[in-house]
């Protein structure tokens, strides 16, 4: 069960796994996620389902090794198994024919964006994609995104690839160039989602964002993933993970993500010290 069939390095510390999970593969819809435990002593972490194939009974998980748990996962090879996988969790993305849909992805957030863009395309939308990365090496899934997009714009902070700048610059120039957007979807680092959301609010573009707060059970039992949306407390695991981006209290959500930063850094350092696996320990967001 949960056996890894394929392992593929997508870029700096980002790995795509194709894993046996027939029940999840048969039931998942775009926007949903799983919670995994890498080993029998691991913490539970949520990961988005990047893709699934019900015929082969496999799902794709994309993980960036930044902390102890994700570094342990990065050590897994084809034939190894992930100890626990539960899902699909969360509500699926609301996919319909909106007209023109703007998909904005940043960093590892491009992984969950891919199935959504694919779904939007299949529903008959004109899909415009903007992908942002700090630098060229950190850009993932460009070809996959290209295959489901009618137009694609890539931005890098350092100008090493595509247009130099931020995704928000690209949105501005798109709209000022006369492109009408009916719906936007944004998934990426929290700050990028916050600023994209502020901009699309200003531009009057309805926007969905997929949140990635801290979670344990994923069934609404612990309330650790609570976020404030439109002044109400919501549990991202069962009420989300997608919400109206313009209603999300981003500052509170971003702060809560930092709850265990000290513990996480200490654990990662201990892990590095213990196994000296030679992985790049630099945090990359």
């Amino acid at each position: 069960m949960n056996t890894i069939r394929k392992r593929e390095e997508l870029g700096c510390n980002v790995i795509r796994y194709v894993v046996d999970a027939p029940i999840i593969a048969a039931h998942r819809k775009p926007g949903q996620f799983v919670i995994i435990r890498v080993t029998d002593h691991s913490e539970r972490i949520p990961l988005t389902i990047a893709d699934a194939n019900p015929d082969t009974g496999t799902i794709s998980l994309i993980v960036q090794s930044v902390g102890k748990t994700t570094r342990e996962m990065a050590m897994l090879k084809p034939g190894d198994a992930i100890h626990d996988i539960v899902g699909p969790l969360g509500r699926p993305t609301h996919i319909q024919q909106f007209g023109t849909v703007l998909c904005v992805g940043g960093g590892i957030g491009i992984a969950p964006l891919y199935p959504i863009a694919k779904g939007m395309k299949e529903a008959g939308n004109h899909v415009i994609t903007i992908l942002g990365a700090r630098t060229r090496d950190l850009l993932i899934l460009e070809d996959d995104m290209r295959s489901v997009s009618d137009e694609i714009i890539v931005t890098t902070d350092d100008g090493s690839y595509g247009t130099k700048g931020l995704v928000t610059d690209a949105i501005r120039s798109l709209v000022s160039g006369g492109t009408h957007i009916d719906q936007a979807v944004v998934i990426g680092p929290p700050l990028m989602m916050k600023f994209t959301s502020l901009l699309t609010k200003e531009l009057g573009i309805p926007t969905m964002a997929s949140l990635n707060p801290i979670m344990i059970d994923g069934t609404g039992m612990c309330g650790g993933c609570r976020v404030t949306v439109g002044g109400e407390v919501k549990f991202a695991c069962v009420d989300g993970p997608e919400f109206d981006a313009h209603q999300v209290d981003w500052d509170s959500m971003i702060r809560r993500l930092g709850t265990y930063r000290t513990a996480e850094q200490a654990a990662a350092e201990r892990y590095d010290h213990q196994c000296r696996v030679g992985l790049d320990a630099k945090e990359s967001r």
Binding site: D217, R255, E264
Partner: protein, 475 residues
Amino acid sequence: MNAADRLKLPPVVMPEQEPAERIHNVREVPFGFTPEMALQEAQRCLHCTNQPCVKGCPVGVHIPDFIQAIESGDYLAGIGIIKQTNLLPAVCGRVCPQEDQCQKDCTVGKAHRDIGQAVQVGQLERFLADWERENHAAVIPQIPPTSGKRVAVIGSGPAGLTVAGDLIKLGHAVTVFEALHMPGGVLGYGIPEFRLPKEIVYQEVAYLTRLGVDFQYNTVIGKSLTVDEVRKDYDAVFIGSGAGLPNFLHIPGESLLGVYSANEYLTRANLMHAYNEDSDTPILRGKSVAVLGGGNVAMDSARTALRLGAHRVMVLYRRSEEEMPARKEEYHHAIQEGIEFHFLENPLEILGNDAGWVTGLTVQKMQLGEPDASGRRRPLPIPGQTSSVSADVVVVAIGNNPNPLIPAALPGLQMNKHGGIVTDEETMETSVPGVFAGGDIVLGAATVILAMGQGRQAARAIHAWLTRTTETAKG
């Protein structure tokens, strides 16, 4: 020994870990009776003909009979008597509120006009269950030939385990679906190790596995499989998905860093072993912890905070000591361990610093007014009397509601206004034919034994339902 002599015997004092020592570990607090102690306590039972203890037990355990077996030294017979009606005696002996059930109307307690003098039924039950486990004496019952019927049990908490145990013994195939990676439901994630060692729960589950129950972990019904798929594959379904939906106070500051629901706090500590310093699951180890609420979960949270190294732990409860719903034993243990109780204090706001971390609370001083719908005196604010307390971790332990995941996935299910599933009181059948429910998903957050009682009722009705449909099919 005659009744007069029996009445003269004092209750046996349960040996326990000293408070100063136990707040530094998560080992169980009471050590359990030795055989000598168990004998002495058993001799206190008068074996009354009216058996008020049995009437007080939600599952009707034949209490005087198993106590008699202890007195005659036949532990195997004793545990067999308990297991006729109670599948999980090692659990119930530890976590049942005996003072409100079997021990409440005990004739010995009545004779002494002190419930504290009642025969310690729970401790004797625990003694037999521990004896059985430690001596690997569990008897595998004769299971009738397979009925060919399949039953799906959703949730592996006390209700689900009871249904599974009862139905497997009647020859039905049983699959238990559990959302988490470990079994037990609230027995695993909620009740702390120092009150209920997880090894006990896991051994009970191992026993059911030996009987043939199939446990499927990491399976969320309504997500991993739809309820309709389960109904198609199984002849009957039991929903025992529990009251896992934490309430919050909806006061300012609940999103601050360091504010936990009791469920999250206890799950990190218990299920994910965050009480071990080297656990992969982090938990904030507050120095000054405020727990909001007055139930058993509040006691568990407060005592867990101590074991995570807190120097000061406060329980803030808006009513007085008298109305507090926590079990006396838990309250007593908490006091012994140095937990501060702030009665008649209602939190108004959780305070934080610029970085978003909790720094304390503003509390409103309360007084008691007329009794409310619950029969307890209603707490009312005393105008102008507010104060502040400092805390770096706040745990909200003000109760849970039924988890809505499965009801949302089965539209035809009739629900009550508290989010619980409506069932027939006798059969526990829901408004959907062939779907039964029990435990906290029906009761709201209640007790382990009531959940087991409903599981037993449901199992009986499911068996009847399965055999009835067979006859209909044949006819």
